[in-house]
Assembly symmetry: C2
Homo-oligomer: 131 residues x 2
């Protein structure tokens, strides 16, 4: 693989294309509740009401909106059973499952980064940080 000049249009384009996919991916996990929902679904299918119970602070409206957005983004699959009272199950799609390890890494990074930050802050300013 030959090295591309950093000033070439090609080089800029490569960066830009990469950005695009990253931004596309990031936008799919951007919602305030998306990762929480994702996390709860990693262990298997859950009904709407079960999700609501596990995420007590979410409103039904937001849960609906987020699940729809995630369905739209092909992260979750929604299965409706023609029963009364209604039963709807949500599960991660294949893509959703493939995202999990990356999110896990992101979480690891977050953990370390948070530690590093707090260490540096307390080292330089000797302040205790909330959270």
């Amino acid at each position: 693989m030959s090295k591309i000049k950093e000033t070439s249009t090609n080089f800029e384009n490569k960066i830009f294309l990469n950005e695009c996919d990253q931004i596309f991916a990031a936008s799919l996990i951007a919602g305030q509740w998306t990762l929480v929902i994702c996390c709860h679904l990693t262990t298997g299918k859950l009904r709407f009401g079960e999700l609501k119970k596990r995420i007590p602070t979410i409103t039904e409206r937001m849960l609906t909106l987020q699940l729809r957005k995630m369905e739209e983004g092909d992260l979750v699959k929604r299965t409706v059973y023609a029963e009364v009272p209604p039963r709807v199950e949500y599960e991660l799609t294949k893509s959703g499952q493939e995202l999990s390890p990356i999110l896990k890494q992101l979480g690891e990074w977050g953990k370390n980064h948070r530690k590093t930050r707090n260490a540096e802050k307390s080292c330089t300013t000797h302040k205790v940080l909330a959270q």
Copy 2:
């Protein structure tokens, strides 16, 4: 490592703690321009004006705001030189650099996910999607 009952509080807590770090990490890369800026800084230091040139569609205001947020989040380091006209350089911190490979993976996932989606859509609905 013994298996934890899925119904135990401990199990729920483990999920929740993991969530926290992920959400913390996600919030740091959440800005509309954060990843774009990150991307351009992976190749080295850049001045404010250079970043602006490389991201023609960003306004000065947004560039400032995002950079400040990234500085606040310890993703970038800001160096001011006492010159006139002023010179300010931005570069990724160690944490910012460590985030790069994960973002790269995220981009890879995004690329594949986008492909899969389009393939499935065109397969079932035979529609051409405007991206």
